[in-house]
Symmetry: C2
Subunit: 480 residues, 2 copies
């Protein structure tokens, strides 16, 4: 999952957005170069005013106290000035996949043996995954059941320019970012097209409605209802320096389990635990945070996500699911299996020696991905060759911390990118995320929906690029 | 009218908010001192987050480019943490007065002789009013008629602590400020009371709905419809450093009148001119701005306000209307006259020697107000005595630039004031503004409504006060 910092400028010339892969396609879908400069300036101005009035804002790191005190030091979030053209057929395909992926994650999460077996080698190479698996093992030992299961997920896709296939980048099962700001950009673009669409020959109705934020909140509310304790609350687990919420360390200090399994934090019963932290090793600086995670997992509170959901979202599991005959263990409907397979990119373990050999020969066609979450850690190009050869020489278990993925080359568009009040023009590539909400209480599926989307667009020109090189913005879709 | 800068900190120890008068009443209506500190901090946090998400923001002068480029350097607008208790009977009285004042302004604006005669002495003492009267005279000469008349007005009131009377401070007929941000504070307070009302024994339904912004926009749209030229636009006249709008100097450079009276600016026919500038001498640094004002006045465009409406809002006219038998020239309905008289504070010309004598003896009971608009220019206390004695000695016409008004001593409340992310506690006084919209096409009244309100609260502790001394915040009402 991408964090807010990832839409802010990144250090150096490397371009990374979440799990976005770099590409160098050729055909712009909408050539903005022909748009009259005076018109662009009007749209810019209106877009910036709209941002201020509708909360499309983030903290401005250059302002003191920004990010520590709400309401001070705000600047508009980086955004694309106009929505990104996107084929309607691919949009429909991605939406249809959402409930199938929701169900798949749930089914995988129930198969403790599959999770443990698939991740057994990763466990040795990756300390973070290992700690998560330890908690999972303890839950297996005490035969812990999660009757009520809540997933707020996001599957990310890119369209491969050559094959025109919609290919999945990954499924996020914890702390999916930007349901709030992403919605606002769709509203912004629809508002701009209502005003300027006739001059651009664009129709605001082609920007899909994006109710991600409200539907995520509704799903949390429905989970709370299922928990059926009117005095219990929804707890947000956050990184440090926020208030009215709890950090993992605070939960360790103030949390306890009642004999009936109720989680109580600061004297308050907890119905739902929503994680906006806990997905990266950085969120666990001491044993305190791990104790908190275990405490919550042992409780009857609804975890969003449970440890099993969290593990089901790892890259290793994604890679396992691509193997022949694995999907069939979890999905009954043959059509659904076909739909899933159609969007699977090539994914391989590093113990596949043929693939490793090919990747050393043609490193430009692969991406090497570590288990580590948070983006910016992927390996591209000649670095892939070097990394693979180093791992071969070492001959250790360290290769189990990585997977190999087919490199996707998405369509390149020429785009207006707004950052810090300034408009940049650059070649860009985009990644589409589809949010999904899943809620289940024992045998009853209460929610299984696609709910909104996240479009992220980043400058594709790298070191040699213009001023915009190296940053990503929030975007929306324009269906073509 | 108050300008945005007036909710920002003012220099020195003097406390001035728009036309607010200082007071030193005694009885707090809601004692916030008893509220639990932890609860206050939660409300503060939520209020600041709400501000960021809902556009309750202003430019932060300490950030470079703030105010020049939209979307950068934002900070929450200063606001009161909780709504200000206010008697429901006074609220209803103020709302009932709105259409009566709307109609009164319109009627006064039609009486050219009354405007010229009333302001004849002011003309000699006040250069700005003199220029406005020159334009007015030219319009009388050419027998210019304004068939369609649009007023977006605001009458300001305070409740006198001793007499419990709702007394009018002034009626603003040009560039009434804060319909936008004022609405948001009502929404903020209702949202906070929905969450925390039960802990405070406050009911969010007692905060009146405040549709000022949308109703002003609707009135502009209705005026545009009456103008009946689908290709003509609404033009906003603004101070420098804004875009997508026009300054007076730009209108002088780019504006022209067609033979049929149509105002064309930059090639675009203008249906409605909405002034967010032009009310202060500072807005007319050269003859260019005066030419622009005259050009617009000569045109068939609907001016909000026309020169007559502008003059009808001067303090001198307010003072003339208080004189015996003057209201009767403009208002037919006796009940309406009684309602207006009930809210009139004492107002006198400086040629009333008995009053001037009394004001020199008891200066604390009077406020001396110059014609000059924009607040911060009123004279209080011993300064009143000195100013009056100086004018008497000079024996010139300079006294005609001022009026005397009864000083109102409003109720003092203890209040939480939020500014720049910090909560201050201080004794405060409040001023209620009621917005009105009036639209008429010849004999047909299309709109005559009360539409929302503006509550401004300022620290009443002056030089000797706490940290909060000297700043004002946006507030809403809590009906008691």
């Amino acid at each position: 999952m991408a964090q807010p910092s990832q839409v802010l400028p990144l250090q150096g010339g490397k371009v990374e957005v979440g799990e976005t892969q770099e590409g160098n396609g050729t055909r712009p879908l909408l050539d903005i170069r022909g748009i009259d400069q005076e018109l662009v300036e009007k749209i810019e101005y209106d877009a910036l005013v709209w941002s201020s009035l509708h909360g499309l804002v983030v903290g401005d790191k250059s302002v003191q106290r920004s990010g520590k005190v709400p309401g001070v030091g705000m600047v508009h979030a980086p955004f694309a000035l106009l929505p990104m053209p996107f084929p309607e057929s691919h949009w429909k395909q991605a939406c249809e996949l959402a409930p199938i992926f929701n169900e798949l994650v749930d089914r995988v999460s129930l198969d403790a043996k599959f999770l443990q077996d698939s991740l057994s080698r990763t466990k040795k190479a990756d300390a973070f995954t290992s700690r998560l698996l330890d908690i999972h093992s303890k839950m297996v030992e005490i035969n812990k059941k999660e009757d009520i299961r809540l997933g707020l997920l996001r599957s990310d896709y890119m369209v491969d320019e050559q094959t025109k296939l919609l290919l999945q980048i990954e499924t996020n099962t914890i702390s999916c970012s930007f349901p709030g700001l992403g919605c606002l950009v769709s509203d912004l673009h629809r508002s701009l097209l209502n005003h300027y669409g006739e001059f651009l020959a664009l129709d605001s109705k082609r920007v899909p409605n994006n109710p991600a934020a409200s539907q995520f909140v509704e799903a949390l509310a429905k989970a709370w209802t299922e928990y059926n304790n009117p005095r219990a609350v929804v707890m947000l687990v956050v990184q440090a320096d926020e208030r009215n919420m709890k950090t993992l360390a605070e939960i360790d200090a103030e949390g306890e389990l009642l004999p009936d399994g109720t989680l109580v934090v600061g004297g308050q019963a907890i119905a739902v635990v929503y994680f906006r932290a806990g997905y990266t090793p950085n969120d666990y600086p001491s044993e305190s945070e791990w104790r908190a995670r275990l405490l919550m997992e042992q409780s009857s509170a609804i975890k969003c996500p449970s440890i099993s959901y969290h593990l089901a979202g790892t890259k290793k599991i994604q890679q396992e699911l691509v193997k022949p005959n694995v999907l069939e263990r979890f999905v009954d409907n043959k059509e659904d299996i076909a739909k899933l397979r159609k969007c699977f990119a090539g994914l391989w373990s590093l113990d596949d020696s043929d693939i490793v050999k090919d990747a050393i020969e043609r490193p430009g066609l692969y991406v090497m991905k570590p288990q580590r979450e948070g983006g910016g850690n992927n390996i591209y190009g000649n670095d892939v060759r070097e990394a693979l050869m180093r791992l071969q020489k070492e001959g250790s278990e360290a290769d189990a911390a990585y997977i190999l993925m087919q490199r996707i080359f998405p369509t390149v568009s020429h785009t207006f990118l707004m950052r810090n009040g300034i408009c940049y023009k650059d070649d860009t590539v985009s990644e589409l995320g589809i949010y999904g909400a899943y809620l289940r209480n024992k045998e009853k599926v209460i929610l299984n929906d696609q709910c909104g989307y996240l479009m992220r667009t980043k400058a594709s020109s790298s070191d040699e690029g213009g001023v915009a090189a190296g940053f990503a913005v929030l975007d929306s879709l324009y269906l073509t």
